[in-house]
């Protein structure tokens, strides 16, 4: 019995060895699958893909203008204090002959303009009180009369707005 088992084992081993030798001789025992399975394109990047990278943040830095070196404070001061950046002195300021405040030659005097504005707003308030509501303006002209004044001949068809004060000097009638 033991002889039989031993014989079978030895026979099996020898048969396996003969099989290996036969396969080797034929060249059919080479392992074709790679030892480690990897993703194909990741291992070997194609040459034409290398130049063309997707445009992203890094790529845009390549062609943006950027300062090469820090501007010194002397350079900065020269630019900030150059002649064109300083405020120019005006030579067209003169006193207003009416009120004495200062004005520019080509501009109305601010003080006189303000005083006219104030009187006009009071007249407008009076007119609003007379009309009583929006869109009720009469189709005739308006005349402003101050204390102790009578309407003239040509003003008899016009609407009269009374102001209870003395006529201002700049408002001629």
């Amino acid at each position: 019995m033991m002889n039989l088992a031993g014989l079978i084992v030895s026979l099996r081993g020898s048969l396996q060895r003969i099989e290996m030798r036969l396969l080797k001789a034929a060249g059919l025992d080479a392992h074709w699958a790679p030892a480690l399975a990897v993703n194909g394109p990741g291992l070997l990047p194609q040459p034409d893909q290398e130049q063309q990278q997707s445009p992203g943040l890094l790529d845009s830095i390549m062609w943006m203008a950027a300062p090469k070196s820090r501007r010194t404070i002397e350079v900065n001061r020269t630019r900030r204090r150059s002649e064109r950046k300083l405020i120019k002195v005006k030579n067209n300021i003169e006193p207003c002959p009416e009120c004495g405040h200062l004005k520019q030659k080509h501009v109305l005097c601010g003080f006189c303009y303000n005083k006219v504005c104030r009187e006009t707003s009071l007249i407008r308030q009076q007119i609003n009180a007379m009309e009583g509501g929006p869109l009720r303006a009469p189709t005739v002209e308006t005349v402003v009369l101050y204390e102790g004044e009578m309407p003239k001949e040509e003003d008899k068809d016009k609407r009269i707005v009374e102001r209870p004060r003395k006529r201002p000097a700049w408002f001629s009638y």
Binding site: R80, I87, V89, K90, I93, L102
Partner: protein, 208 residues
């Protein structure tokens, strides 16, 4: 090993305590030696206003009249010091009437503020500093300084942030009695002539 560790530890503590002691000594001895401690500036000492308090000894009868000087300032103006500088530079050396006239027609926020400061200073001059004519003043010095800034957060994209400064500035002016000094107008030709003359004045030293 424990002894070595404790030895090193003791030396370390000694060094620490020595450093602390010397630091405390330095702090206690006075602010003149340490320039990084702002004990004399910015917070409680207003040097410009203090200049008005300076009293001169009475003048002798044959000395020329010392013109009156008025120092005035305004602190913590909500404006940029760089923008204020342009206005201050413009009115340097002008008579006070001329300066007020110019400032009235400049469309800048600082112009209104400086005009107020000048009018205040003019009033102070007549009331407190014995100036006879309020128009007989000119601006000897005028400049702006940085005030105390507030810091705020400025939100950017992607969760980034920056720290924003809310700028404040001071404005200082010194009025002097008298008419404004005439500044000599130097043309480019004069400057070039002076430059060439300087070159001609050069001599060779240690020569025969």
């Amino acid at each position: 090993m424990a002894a070595a560790v404790t030895g090193r530890g003791v030396a370390f503590i000694r060094g620490l305590s020595a450093g602390l002691y010397s630091r405390l000594q330095v702090l206690a001895c006075g602010h003149q030696q340490l320039s990084c401690l702002h004990t004399s500036s910015s917070l409680e000492s207003k040097n410009w206003e203090r200049k008005n308090r300076k009293v001169y000894p009475p003048q002798l009868p044959d000395e020329p009249c010392r013109p009156a000087e008025i120092h005035h300032s305004r602190r913590q103006i909500k404006y940029s010091k760089d923008k204020m500088w342009y206005l201050a530079k413009m009115i340097r050396g002008m008579s006070i009437d001329g300066a007020i006239a110019q400032l009235e027609f400049i469309d800048k926020k600082g112009a209104k503020i400086i005009k107020e400061v000048l009018l205040e200073a003019q009033e102070m001059a007549v009331k407190n500093h014995n100036v006879e004519y309020k128009s007989n003043l000119y601006i000897a010095e005028s400049f702006s300084g940085k005030g105390m800034y507030l810091k705020r957060i400025r939100y950017h994209g992607r969760g980034m942030f920056g720290i924003m400064d809310k700028v404040y500035c001071h404005y200082f002016v010194k009025l002097v009695e008298g008419s404004p000094p005439k500044v000599e107008q130097r043309t480019g030709y004069d400057q070039a002539k002076e430059y060439v003359q300087n070159l001609r004045n050069r001599t060779i030293i240690h020569s025969l």
